[in-house]
């Protein structure tokens, strides 16, 4: 129960995975390992909406998680959605080990703008912190600059900082210390 796994769902740019490896190692007191990419079966695709069902991705990730998983973060380029909502930047099990982040709407290209690697990296890190925050029991924060604030639009992702606010940060520190047997 002590490894932080990162797994690509479908094909994902390797530099993004590298950024997230580094970021995860910085934030979480677990060794970070990469799992072989998951293939996306046709059944996950909703042709009418031209999107992928996030619920299926989450299910597959949970099934993939090795025994010693502390947290498992899926990363995907495809556009995720659930039946009720037009899209998701990511999804997580509240207090569970699995989360997923979609890069699709974090890319400037999605909005018809030229690619911007620096911005993509920032956004991906924010969304990773956000979804992982949920896996440690955090719910949305009312502080707009906190990584845990709810972003329903890309502008709101950009408003966030790449960190938790003091209160959410304290919660994370407590949970991480407990997860790591109190050694930090």
């Amino acid at each position: 129960m002590n490894t932080f796994y990162i797994v690509a769902v479908g094909s994902v740019a390797s530099e993004v995975l590298d950024w997230l490896d580094t970021e995860a190692a910085e934030w979480f007191p677990f060794p970070v390992r990469r799992l072989p990419p998951l293939a996306i079966p046709e059944g996950w695709y909703d042709a009418a909406r031209q999107q992928y069902q996030s619920v299926e991705v989450m299910k597959a990730l949970a099934e993939t998680a090795p025994r010693d998983t502390a947290r498992l973060l899926g990363v995907t380029e495809v556009d995720l959605a659930i039946p009720m909502l037009t899209f998701l930047f990511g999804q997580a099990q509240l207090n569970g080990p699995v989360a997923v982040v979609s890069l699709c709407r974090l890319r400037q290209e999605f909005y018809g703008l030229p690619a911007n690697d620096g911005l993509l990296r920032e956004r991906a890190r924010k969304e990773m912190l956000h979804e992982l925050g949920h896996t440690f029991g955090l719910t949305h924060c009312s502080e707009p600059q906190c990584a845990m604030s709810l972003a329903t639009h890309i502008d709101l992702v950009d408003t966030k900082k790449e960190r938790y606010c003091a209160r959410c940060g304290a919660h994370m520190a407590r949970r991480l210390a407990a997860a790591n047997g109190g050694s930090i």
Binding site: L85, F87, T139, H140, L150, T152
Partner: protein, 451 residues
Amino acid sequence: MKGVWPILIVDDEEVMCESMAAWLREDGYRVDTAPNGRRALELAKSTDYAIYFVDLKMPGGMDGIETMIEIRRARPDAAIIIITAYATVDTAIQAMKEGAQEYIVKPCNPQEISLLVSRILKLKKLQRENAILRKKITRQYRHRDVVTKNPRMEEILALAQEVASLRSTVLIRGESGTGKELVARAIHYSGDRADKPFITVSCAALSETLLESELFGYEKGAFTGANAQTKGKFELADSGTIFLDEIGDISPKLQADLLRVLQERRFYRVGGGEEIQVDARVIAATNKDLAEEVQQGRFRDDLYYRVNVIEIRIPPLRERREDIPLLAEHFVERIGHELGKDIGGIAEDALKLFIEYDWPGNVRELQNVIERAIVTCHNGMLGESDFAWLEQRLGSHEPWKVPDVPLSELERRAIIAALERKQGNVKEAATALGIDRSTLYDKLKRYEITR
């Protein structure tokens, strides 16, 4: 905090229920799900959900609209959002007619749902706060909370109870600070209008034109600055009670308008042509002798008889001195609690001082005196020393020493003191000074005393 507002999602598709529930849980809400209307109803009976998301199309017995109707039967205040994949105007209209709060087409923009939920919860919060405050107010103004053991006061309270559920106009007379509004509220809150509004208007505080628009409201453009149609206090008090404080101070024109409302239960807004009907119980109060005002031609006799259907006269505190210790203890306890100070009580010597004092400002003055003492008190018990300033006002403990000043200065001070004692009432002050009113006016002018 959001955990106190549970949400129920009703949909036959498990994926839809669970994914939406997960998303709302990330926002901190407690979310339950139900696969059909029957289960939803069971859950609704045991939990008071703040919001229900109900899918319009569900197979089996109950569809979304039926489920909504049943939920509303069990929970009339339920906020229900109807969800559908098919946006048809007909079903939307039907859903709204049956009382849905909102109607959304899935898939829905996350921002829209997030705003919708917070908007509904804001309203729920206000409703809950309102209910709590209303409870607080009614509790505060029940009859038994009027502190007294004076037989005349007890008679008054019994009368108030008797007339509470009648529609008859009540006139409450009493000096300022005797608790006229308290009695008016006690009447309102023990009658069958208790859950309806109780609206207070202080007639003395406003000029004629302001009071007119305050009472009757006005139409947009009725006068400069009338930017929007505004309801008056009579309309706001519809089906409840309107309390007209200091009714003896209103102008002849408004007296005529008021008479019309009392007689016909209808009126026009200022600048308006549409007649408005109201059912408001009127309770009026005055510290003047209205019969005297009628004789002097300052108050219309027909209005007087309309208002004075049931008369309640509240005695001044000095006529019910036996209530002073009771009231004092009551205020010490209440104000101490409000100010967060632990005050043990009032010492005998202070109570003796209280009983001797005449309390021209009546119960309100007593309350203020005690509040002031509690603020400055440091040893947990209010004694005579905490009211030293009151003793000076009482002034009976030491023989009066004539100050070394000119006679005119003595006269000036005597006039000011008399006016203060009579709260600026020139007629009463003149009587107290043993001179007639016109003489007093001359002297006010000479000494440049403003009332």
